[in-house]
Symmetry: C2
Subunit: 471 residues, 2 copies
Amino acid sequence: MSRETDDLAELTKDPEDLEDLALGEDYALNPDYVPLVADALDRGDAERLRDLLSALRPEDVADLMGFLSSKDREELLPHLDPEALGEILSELDTEIREDILEHVPSATLAKALEEMDSDDAADVVDDLEKDKRAQVLAAMPEVERAAIETTLGYEEESAGRLMQREVVAAPQFWTVGQTIDHLRRESDELPELFFDVYVVDPAYKPVGAAPVSHLLRNMRDVPLAQIMEPITEIPVDMDQEEVAYIFNKYHLISAPVVEPGGRLVGQITVDDIVGVIQEESDEDILALAGVSDAGRDAGIFGIVRSRLPWLVVNLGTEALAATVVGAYQAEIAKFTALAVLMPIVSSLGGNAGTQALTVAVRALSSRELNAANAFRVILRELGVGLFNGAMMGSLLGAGTWLWWHDMKLAIAVGLAVLANFFVAALGGILAPIVLERMGRDPAVSSSVVVTFMTDFFGFLALLGIAALILL
Amino acid sequence: MSRETDDLAELTKDPEDLEDLALGEDYALNPDYVPLVADALDRGDAERLRDLLSALRPEDVADLMGFLSSKDREELLPHLDPEALGEILSELDTEIREDILEHVPSATLAKALEEMDSDDAADVVDDLEKDKRAQVLAAMPEVERAAIETTLGYEEESAGRLMQREVVAAPQFWTVGQTIDHLRRESDELPELFFDVYVVDPAYKPVGAAPVSHLLRNMRDVPLAQIMEPITEIPVDMDQEEVAYIFNKYHLISAPVVEPGGRLVGQITVDDIVGVIQEESDEDILALAGVSDAGRDAGIFGIVRSRLPWLVVNLGTEALAATVVGAYQAEIAKFTALAVLMPIVSSLGGNAGTQALTVAVRALSSRELNAANAFRVILRELGVGLFNGAMMGSLLGAGTWLWWHDMKLAIAVGLAVLANFFVAALGGILAPIVLERMGRDPAVSSSVVVTFMTDFFGFLALLGIAALILL
């Protein structure tokens, strides 16, 4: 324990001071709080741990877990409030959760799962090892177990996985008053929070939704059919990325999920979607950089696994591009300035290509680029490529002339930059579009294709043009 | 008009068919729908336009606008339902909105703004030119005008801009029944949708929130103080990125916004946050690729402006790195294989650096990386860099030996890759951390720094080591 942590521990004997210390102004966990907890764990000071934990909400405890070592996390477990265990578990990153779940007794876990929404509970069960999963499910009441098993039957990242099976539904012919009376009677059976009462027909197909604020503001004798709003149905097998697009587009707070026949089977609420949007953006950011998500708690080899594949692919394409250089070794030996300029030409082109493809990947994922405007966007990108190529080619050409006083070399490098920017624009816009058409994720493979193109053509353009006009 | 559009127009004479055609299964606008609208505009066929537009929700109309030319958009304006104008305007991208607003009469606009939430209305007013803004505001009732002017007084991208001033508040001592009666009485004055009734003390400071679903499920005589939940207050000057972090962390649906003194001044709802999260992620994705957002409707020169600055910076750093190559021209003339290998070494290092910095930027923005674990994460990155460097160095070394049968060259290139991966790891993890500490956005400048480092050291390592052991 460091000197500063010591001082801080001294200053925060009073539990009320801990609450001020725990979170920053932006409600993020204060980094200084982590060593206080680690220290209390080392000393096995249960009372201090209780004080430290009671200043945190379940989400903050989950956050804290992410900063503790695996050993500390395990030691912290018995000190957690069993009531909050479910909530803490549903906030944890998968790999940290898997690590923790091994140490939670099956009976405790079964109890925590009962209290959770079916989607969150299913996520946790999904992370359990086979034997433990069977034990935990066996310890749960029939209804909750069935809900979890049904949820796990849907494909990963589908609406079925995202939805909670708990919904509030009412028949079309009810009034506001009848609905409120029903809600008061069934209070114990309702989801913890809900935002819409779905109005269903006799076949349990949703025909509209009565927002709860509309139920509150209308008189008891108003029929639901009169205040209900049109719904946006989500098919149970829809991909979560599409669900997120729909929520974002129509600013939905909740939406009914329906089976292929149209029957209401659950609902998705916007708080789940916030997580999905973050997740999908993160996936794109990482994919564009050639990384897969290793998780925050991954060890060195977990990270190596998430990065090495793309590096190997990159070595392959780089080696292929380098064969162009190999073919012009004689010219380079005579004009070594070419070796100096070569990487600049390919790197500039690579950057231009990355700019174009990143914009295209983003536009495709937000549905701003499709068949209706693809032709116009492609032409515009080619225009930008030629213009930026002419600008950068002139700059590098001028620099070359100033340095080597060789007009032919300056012209060769200027033309090479221009040509490479054209290739970069072409690759940067077409690679994502073509990959998307082929049903591939354009964020994943576009970079490889475009970087290879700009390296290969960058070398070829500079060395080819130089060979023609210099020798 | 193309042959296919002709056929499609023939097939969709019936308005009901239009509804099926308008949106894809994922509720995105069908690309084929755009030429149908453009064609009806060309022919000035008002009836057809009415049919085409009535198959769309306001959000879809906004989407459609994005695919139309500026001229078509202007022609479409008079055909839009004036009731929906406000909603359509609040969905449009800024630059398209600015383009359209010039053509909407001030009186029409004032009317549309009255119907909107204060945050959305302020966004629209913010896009108006000075003269028109004065005209429009003058045509609005005092209360709505004041709300808009107050909102515009807060800094851009702050909670004050994001919040709507319309809130539902109730004193602590009310019961559920009193609250419901109040809501029914004031029905006309309430926000269109709300999710929480904020419970306030006599100084109008929020002390809790009663979720509307809790108001519905509890008996009339239950006091609000008994069912209210703790609140997460948002200071009115908080940055929107922090607000989004808080909503995401605590799964909030709405949160009260307070003035420095603690008085309730408005609320932020999660549907606004979904847009912010998307926006902030997009900013990061684009910044990492060295692009600023030009907007979907930008012309060639708008796009050039968003990309050229970074290309020029890149040319500068590349030229600086190339001076290393310039210093070793004599060695390259003798061993032209160095010219072949040089770009491979720098490019591999660049990729490794990009991987590390992207992961670090993402971890910083999600608060997963801070002072509590920085040291551990840095050590881990260095470990990964050394391991991946050793792997890739061996691979490229082996390839070099196979190709040139020169063991010294193979060793030189292998060591150079290893050294450059270490530099890449160091730069990739430290650049974002240091930039963040300096109060800069790590997504914007990290790439420049890291790419320069891996180019410079990549060249230096290969050529320096080669000069030592080959010559």
